[in-house]
Structure formats: C-alpha cells, structure tokens
Amino acid sequence: MSSTEEFDVTIPSDTAKGREVQEQIVGGMESRGYSPRDVFGVRLALEEALVNAIKHGNKMDPDKVVNVKWEIDEEHVRVVIEDQGDGFLVKDVPDPTDEENLDKPGGRGIMLMRSFMSVVEYNESGNRLTLEKRTDDPDDDD
C-alpha cells in the first residue's frame, strides 16, 4: 500500500517561485514512478495554472501570495492552487479553437489543463483551482 504525502506551500507572486513548486511536485511524481507522459502533462498543467494565478489572478502584486496544497501517492496527485485575485468566470473564457480565435495568441492554458489532467475544477469565484491526475485515467491515450 502506498502512503499519501501532503504538502502546503505559500509563495509570493513570482513565476520563478511557482516553478520551484512545480519542480517539487513533478519530482514527487518521478520518484514514485509516474510515466513520462503523466509527468509531461502535469508539468504543463501546473505551469499554466501557476502562471494564471500569479499573472492573471494576483496580477503580479508583490503583496499577494499563492497557496499551493498537494497530496500525492502512487495512484494520484491532487493540487489545489489558490490566489488572492478577484477570480473570473470560466465560461467567459473564449474557446481558442473556434475559427475566429485560432490565430489569437492567448487563451489556451485552461484547454491544455483540461486535456492533460483527470480533474480541473474552479471554485465559484474562480480564484481556487483543483487539478488532479490519476494514473488509472482512461483518457490517457487520446
């Protein structure tokens, strides 16, 4: 049986600090034998999520922080990222794959998270995101 480890880290609105947390989480996956594909997907999703929280959520405000909690074992990794911004409505984010948006430079982060993770959930106000990757995720091969 695998034991679940839990972590709780609060970082300033600095993407370099976000990347350090990302490395910690991904390192935990690698040491538990997650597949390179799972590691790739989670790293990408964390990159998008942390940059969103720091840039769009906290608007790089040095007085605001991002809290990252995660739990990990051999079967799943679950990450909750909460910023101190005003949040947003997920439904207001335009579909980047619509013909008229295809050549617009932004708006692809959430879509990539949804594709690579088993669970992507925002709270109602849009400032707290839960990401989960399960190793038995049946969507893995699409």
Binding site: T15, A16, R19, R37, F40, R43, L44, E47, E48, V51, P96, T97, L102, D103, K104, P105, G106, G107, R108, G109, M111, L112, S115
Partner: protein, 118 residues
Amino acid sequence: MSAGHRRLDIEESGDVTIAKFVDKKILDEGNIQIIGNQLFSLVEDDARTKIILDFSNVEYLSSAALGKLITMDKKVKAAKGKLRLCTVRPDIYEVFAITKLNKLFDMRDNLEQALEGM
C-alpha cells in the same frame, strides 16, 4: 538575464533560414519574450521570408510560447513568406493538436521534409 543572449541557433540553407530553439523548456516568461523578439527580428529586421523553426531540442513549451509562434506566423504571412515547423516531438505535437494549432501551422516531420519545396 541578458536580453542579447541567443535563444535561437540560426543557419542558412540557400534562401531558407533555419532557426533552431536552443532551450529544452520554453516556459519562462522572460525567456519567451526574448525568443519572440529574436523570431520577429528575422522578419522585421532581416527581411527573411522563408523560415523553418526546428524544435528538435524542445521538450516543454507553454501556451505563452504558442502565443509567440502565432504572432510569428502572422508576421511571416503578412510579409508573404513561408513559415514551417519541424521535428516536433510527439508530446509537444499533442499540445498543437489539442489547441488545433496543427491546422494553423505548416508542420513537417523533419528538417529535410521542411526544406522540400520551400
């Protein structure tokens, strides 16, 4: 980070410019900014119109990097040039496919194929 630090290896093959990404991870905001500026400069300052972007070193890239590639594609098209992407590894290709950018970009398996008919 020095703004002048090269993030692209540039080679010429006839009138075609091959720009190879140096980095394995195209994630850092500052780095993406520099890469974007170096890419745009190929069209805007050097007036190059046939450009191949070689991804063989690239293991990760974020949506911010995709944004720069889209802007680059627009600039090349505006200059009536050709932009091709090549040697994109399967994980990264999936990122293009999910976002349907594989339809926007002309993507080739390897450099030889990218040079063909350029």
